[in-house]
Symmetry: C2
Subunit: 253 residues, 2 copies
């Protein structure tokens, strides 16, 4: 016999009659509030669809929609054949969209230009291999681009790409299309992660960016996946006086 959560479902019954919106939304709120206030602990089992149907007299599709949407919102996690559980608390996570520096500059009404400082085929170094999740010596492409906003250098983009997943990378003209835009076209992004730091530029980097070596820089390390495969790893370096990272969010459970 599997672990029972019927009593948890029964307890939801009272919460459901209070609200007056859509049924699936009431159910979502009832469950989310229990997760929020901690009465349903992380990784704890939540009622199955069948148990919700029995306890609340809703159809399975309604229960399914509530649980499914809560899962995409990161409140719950599900596993086919096993059950539904309260999601582990997201420790560091900050959801973030991909930025394309060219689009960003264009949206400000300014002119974007890129210089290609390096574009080559290579074999992954040990560090690159671990960053890309491949073996050392795996074929990769390296690119080093300098982005300008109205003739002022704003970002130094260093990138390593899994050559097997983007074989035509070398043939692209990155003065007209950013690597970010190209990659998102040939390998639709499904996942990614960012690591944002404040660092100092090296002498060489500072020279490219036409800045003083004592000026702080915002460095974004970004790895992007497509269909479960790690496609590219990038390091974006920008002078703190010329570049900010803006984010907006809504609906935290």
């Amino acid at each position: 016999m599997r672990q029972q959560s019927q009593h948890l479902a029964d307890e939801l019954k009272t919460s459901l009659t209070e609200g007056n919106g859509p049924l699936y939304e009431q159910l979502k709120q009832a469950i989310a509030s229990r997760v929020r206030d901690g009465s349903w602990a992380a990784l704890q089992r939540v009622p199955s669809e069948a148990e919700l149907v029995k306890a609340l007299a809703v159809s399975r599709m309604t229960a399914n929609r509530a649980l499914r949407e809560l899962t995409t919102e990161g409140i719950l996690q599900r596993q086919q054949g096993v059950g539904t559980f309260v999601a582990e608390k997201k420790l560091p996570s900050a959801l973030s969209e991909i930025h394309d520096i060219a689009e960003e500059i264009a949206s400000r009404g300014n002119q974007h230009r890129a210089e290609v400082l390096c574009l080559e085929r290579a074999q992954a170094s040990q560090q690159e291999a671990s960053g890309l999740g491949v073996r050392t010596g795996h074929p990769v492409f390296r690119s080093l681009l300098l982005h300008f906003e109205n003739q002022l250098p704003i970002q130094l983009e260093s990138r390593v790409i899994n050559a097997e997943l983007a074989p035509e990378y070398l043939e692209q003209d990155f003065t007209s299309v950013t690597p970010s835009a190209y990659l998102s076209r040939i390998a639709p992004l499904t996942e990614g992660e960012h690591l944002v730091e404040a660092v100092l530029a090296t002498a060489e980097q500072a020279n490219w960016l036409q800045m003083n070596v004592t000026e702080p820089c915002l460095q974004i390390q970004r790895r992007t996946w497509s269909r479960g495969e790690l496609v590219a790893s990038a390091r974006l370096l920008s002078p703190g006086s010329r570049f900010q990272l803006f984010g907006h969010f809504g609906r935290s459970i």
Copy 2:
């Protein structure tokens, strides 16, 4: 007669047979790719559920699920009684969750401690008023906290709170509960925005943080809303060598 999009639906037919995942997912991808590559322009009408049913021989619920999920992902926008349209624009937005520095430190298995450097009632200065969206002279609370991780200062937190929305703010013991945790309890966060920069600390800030004034700092300016009202504005300053911002995201169209 309403504007027809039947031909757009018909064109989707070929894209659908290629994929082999779930049907609603194939439909989502087929539509999303047309939005992505611009062949379906912003604000343009997309086929109605009925047209998709007719053209693709799927059930209305399947079409509904595809369009609905694309809407929550910000690719499309819908209006009841009117129709479905390509969403206006990719938000500049980067979704981000609230961080609580104490939780973050605890999750690393380290010890957190906070010193209260300042905690007072005041009248909003012109700058504070514009940041909080209130008039100059509006009652506010100010707090200045220094957070330690294992006895090492890691973040200087300067905060301004709308006193009307958190009247008991002064009575809290912020050495045991962070302002972030307190505020999220009394005023559940519904919206927020971040501005991340790389800056240099002032002499006073560097002294508090026990760091060199030449070392770059990561500065996060954060404003948080609750039920449409701007509750607090915070500036979090951390030495670049001791603090990183990590983010993970999934499923950008």
